[in-house]
Assembly symmetry: C2
Homo-oligomer: 210 residues x 2
Amino acid sequence: MARRTGRRPGNPETREAILAAAREAFAGKGYDGASIRAIATGAGVDPALVHHYFGTKDKLFLAAMQAPMDPAEIIDAVGEGDRDEVGVRFVRLFLRIWDGPGGAAGVAMLRSAVGTEWTARLFREFVVTQILRRAVPKLGLDDDEQGPLRVTLAASHMVGVALARYVIKVEPLASVPSEVIVAAVGPSVQRYLTGDLDLAAHLGDPPDRP
Amino acid sequence: MARRTGRRPGNPETREAILAAAREAFAGKGYDGASIRAIATGAGVDPALVHHYFGTKDKLFLAAMQAPMDPAEIIDAVGEGDRDEVGVRFVRLFLRIWDGPGGAAGVAMLRSAVGTEWTARLFREFVVTQILRRAVPKLGLDDDEQGPLRVTLAASHMVGVALARYVIKVEPLASVPSEVIVAAVGPSVQRYLTGDLDLAAHLGDPPDRP
């Protein structure tokens, strides 16, 4: 019998069974469609145990994704303060996490996300429920019909930077000081989040969309 | 015995043996360190056969990567014409390839690139030798000490867009018309390639770099 650790409650095998059932449910039914009850049934445990081990459904999802950080914390920190510096704040905080001890987990998460259709769907649910749904209101984009596009543009840019810097490790991007990337990329992210994207000609007439 | 096809010269098993030896050599020794002779030896064939099957070392590398396109063609097309529209041209051409029949191969290449340290190294060699080395002179950035950084910033952004749109498939980025992305992302890429990145404060004093 494996022993419990102080940090993570529960039998490691039971934890893993719950996490495996959670991944299957989140990828198969989506975040909203996956219930704690069904995940507990899939793992052969009582729903109360899932709550006891992982807390909320959000926390269970983060654990299932082995996420290096809680996006809610990043979004809260980026959302606070001068709106004209939201781009620079986002890039700086993002790089601080990836340059730090969470970076290895980030690389593992990115590798897993890209691996198969199944893991890609899991990651997509993660982006939509943990990032998009929170960032749009937090950044004051509720009334902006381009809000979700803005956030996905900013997020996709940063994922590309993470891929190039930490996974592919292309120079000079891989070893340039993080503040160089903050200075270079911050204004792009700022424009995506709060600037004029000049899309009226392309989005004005939905029936014309292919 | 497998039959030859009209399009690809040679015995499929011999072709595969050469491609496997090429991947190993390019990942292990880098593009410059990998010789056609050593690759032929690794595959147990005559070097002349490698040239006969694949042509140049560049073409062999593209075949080994299963690249959906030859970056040289994209870079040439992007490099021609008005310098103030290089960003828009790059994004438009990039999306045209990914939205077209080459997209599936692109997804496969990206999946492979991210998969392991070994394949990441292979992809890095691809970026450096097939993209960076060509794009820097073609875009007139030889005398710009930030030239390589500029190209990697632009490339990392587009890889992030490809990942979000074609692999993770996050909405609305996944199904928005390509011209929306051209309008939104083109100016960022333009700034990376030709604009003022305002990096003097961060790059002016190399000894201070961590």
